[in-house]
Subunit: 244 residues, 6 copies
């Protein structure tokens, strides 16, 4: 049923079409192209046989994430961060969020003194790049650990739960799920939620870009987020062949 | 009534002692020392008679924030960011949060082509530096605008609402208000909430550092935050002489 | 006919399969995915309505290029240049080469005070990324200028010639065309040649990685390069619909 | 007796009111707020259980200093050095001066393979911040070493002498002691002198900002400095409870 | 016989006057002032008793080069790279070229775990600074290794061949040897060639700054380069007293 | 008369041999090679037809200085500052000193909206590079202004006085003039003095590297400095042909 209110015609609680393409590039241990509508992010998972200094000799692993956007992934070209010589505050905020979210998904003590590097690079942006990145990184990480299992380095994929992420927000007065760029650039509130497949919160980051919002709206946004995340986790598990 | 559970003996819903000292230094248009227990932050508000390039000629103002910690404001000395040549991701995340929160408090179109710079520098850290910073910056900004009113540059302080901030979290299984350092470094969940004096949300940033948390916990944390913020707004207004 | 000498079995003068996919992403004025075998590079062309300071008021345009590799486009993960805070010497060398090559293809005086930004980002590397980048950037730039023609901003695409690029080298004693990664990492000589569709040289960059090479070898390498470039230019024109 | 010549009415050879507040913050081994009139600097001394690479295994300690100003410690807001990504030449000059001065005060061979970090952060500037910083850092360092004595790590505070610092200058033709901001920004000559409690020179840095000055003036300035430093050393020792 | 065509009156195949002054400064193991006409470059060779991390324990040496220009070595003053905080792309390109060229001249396995640092600093620029640098660095490196031979650290200078470099180009339609600044800034093609004393190619870097050039021109340029390099190698050997 | 005490055999009050070679390079408006014994510094003066932003439209000129050392100007090779991406604190301290000293020599209001850039680059270091730099820069600046006089841009060289610089120090208990490297690296006190030809102080920077020094020593050092500077100014004027 089409919706007059949203530019895309989606219902308030409808996700965009979400696709997860595994083995997207050939070198990485895990490599996923994730698409949330027109938003496209390449997520690779690389295993390195060492840990950062602060963990040396402690017998546990580490997981870290980096995020980037191709200069013309956006409507108007952005400066290339490598050329400017620094990552923006926004970039750092997002890659810290991805790292925390994925560390919540895996048992760092169960994969030895190794580091899992997650690289999330936005090829095309249309809103929701950070939530797409977390969602795709979960699958890429799972694939990378599966490779360690296959080569008998570890006994099982050290996943504690699945994590997925989605944005919710208030667009023209209505709480909606999975904002695209047109909505994102014109909304009053934007909230990113990261949840486990058990429906527990890993991260909540909400910002009132226009009007501050009341508790009832907050409650409705959290409901929408949970519904969306359950749908996305199903897609993740399907993509990995864990369910049908 | 003392509480066995919290290191400080505070009740689960008790704030630390909060103090706001105005005119703490002499040069800034607004200058506040804010204390949340042993956490001490100097917040200054400086008015500059120009706006960033992207706002030139648009007849409106801008508000921006920076955050820093003295190297030995913490238990062990941190490297000085100016000497390292860059601000950490954490620093940038916090100063972006402060900026967004305070932009929500004031009407940027009502103070002409001026920039309000908020500088929040932590002298002593004991948990909750970012929430103390937002709380103190509100008062410093109010003072700076009041000076513009007194010198008849603008007609009234362009405040849309008061904003204040507090942290809540789950410490040893119990939702608590206003975490100090001992709690913060050993909690499962840490959430920072920024709200208006009307009880509307400006920012919510929650992270499950240990276990992911369920919706009931989320609800309890938001209740605690609202109660704490109402108490803090009262202190802000008292400090400014707006109420008794 | 398969070749015992080359890991891929290609004949000494055989290119890899080359593909040019236009309109690969949706925001850029020109956007091409170029593939030389397993090497995949996204080339976007962005038009900006201004020129660098040194050209202001001179009534002519400018063209500039940037190059990057996704951290896990390679066999082992490379550090992200944006995170390290600087582009490597190799990166700068390559993007300067792309810029000079493409400036040779277009008449900078014929498109007004505009800058064409070419961004070449390697998604997957298997040797020859810089020659693929130049080849794809030519097509992306052509598309971007065509858009200006369609919107009647300029009268015609200001191309002076087509340019394309290919590598040649000495692999296990034999001069070969279009080195892939296995050859590139074990060759004695590596030369990148950029030529116009008239067979004239735009750039020649040859390096004896192992043994220095004699004049007869040089002559053979230049022959191979010219043959390969003629084949590639045909593909470029076909992709653009300029020939069948 | 008031002086018509100086903005503050001080006699030519009168110091401003100088205060030293120990234990100003709670984490540092030594922590002093030093005030020279309206100039306020927080000096902390932090002990780290290692030395820089060039001293490893040599059985001696090291002492180093850093200096900073809060952005709005001054009349008009200065850019934050951490945000700009580098320390100014002035900042580096001052922190090198503080480091050399304090290394002259202590016996580096007498406290083992430890580093004493001195951080001098200006909260409010009104002239003479570097001399205040040296003066306060001496007391903070003494306190930090005293803590090592108390915990029986070393046998005695390894002080060779006390050092203190003061500025002298030529203001409107008259040599004066301890320039405040109004004098400093309008003087012909500005000289910073660091001396031991025995009246021996550790550092002399004089600059003719306006007219070059003659030898007789130099002699008078050095006399004033010595008198001032003797007064300051007395205050330092009193603050530490070493004399009454 | 003077040439109407070239600003200097040189014949098309005539080098400028080339001079190599050994022991130009006193500290370096090898130190050469090289002059190609008015182009003057100081080349020093410094031996360090360690290798970069990636070679540790492999029993072989390393050779690396850096290049710089004094700010006023050029017609108009350039910004100082140390002050700007980064080396330009051009500088990096040149120092990488010098490094590769000289690594081709020496047997890195024959001088133990040592690094030879070549520093090429342009005192006065008049075209051809990179070819002068390579030419001078060869002699400085030879001197540095000779010192190791004299002190009986190694048995013989580990030279595989001599390398020298020269530029060739097309100036006003004529292929010419050794472009000076006037020619360089107004030529259609500029090519730098590095060759061994056996006439084998080490590096070729040609750029069509104006018109792309055909194969016949390429052949003529390579002939000129070979002739010039044979003359230069003779001068290098004479300077070192290896021939008369 | 030779001196047993000093490594060079110089008398306590003897300068090294000082040479000033004008027109050392051809592009700069002023270009001087200054030698203090084995210390050799190239000083160039470049005139730019604009002033920094803070002086725009004020009708006066500006003078600024930069300092650098070639990596192997010293006994062991130093890292290249351009490659490290920043100038050391020592470099900045020295170039600020050179700038202040030369600004004291010239009337900035008398040469229009122009900037004089002084670049002092150390080719070979043997102690006293900063004093040699100031001494040489004075002559280079004079030459640059003379060129403006010759081309009738200004009426006269805007020199207020001559400035020159020398180091003095306490070497093995004896105050000596003009320390060379052997003395400098083993002295108790090192003081750099910049004076006008009238014997007035422009800068005094003294440091007790070992023992703090008393007032009598200070007086003797200032006497030595004045004597040395008078000798150097005579050499400067002779080099410029102002006296015989």
């Amino acid at each position: 049923m089409s919706n007059q209110n949203r530019p895309s015609g989606r219902a308030a609680d409808a996700l965009r079409s979400i696709r997860l393409t595994r083995n997207y590039t050939k070198h990485a241990e895990g490599s996923v192209l994730v698409e949330f509508g027109d938003t496209r992010v390449i997520c690779t998972a690389s295993i390195e046989e060492k840990v950062p200094g602060f963990l040396k000799g402690m017998g546990q692993g580490w997981l870290t994430a980096e995020y980037g956007m191709l200069p013309r992934s956006t409507h108007t070209r952005m400066d290339r961060e490598a050329a400017k010589g620094k990552q923006s505050g926004r970039t750092q905020e997002i890659q810290r969020l991805i790292g925390r979210s994925l560390r919540a998904a895996f048992d760092l003590e169960a994969f030895g003194e190794r580091t899992l590097h997650l690289d999330c690079d936005v090829i095309q942006a249309d809103g929701g790049t950070r939530t797409a990145a977390i969602t795709g990184a979960m699958v890429a990480a799972y694939d990378a650990f599966s490779e360690l299992v296959e080569s008998k380095v570890i006994a099982a994929v050290p996943a504690k739960h699945f994590v997925a992420a989605i944005s919710v927000g208030v667009y023209r007065g209505t709480p909606v799920l999975d904002l695209d760029y047109l909505e994102d650039s014109d909304c009053d509130t934007d909230m990113n939620v990261v949840m486990t497949d058990a429906g527990h919160f890993v991260e909540v980051q909400g910002t009132a870009e226009g009007e501050a919002f009341d508790r009832a709206t907050m409650d409705r946004l959290l409901d929408l987020a949970q519904q969306g995340i359950f749908e996305i986790v199903t897609l993740q598990k399907k993509a990995l062949g864990l369910t049908r």
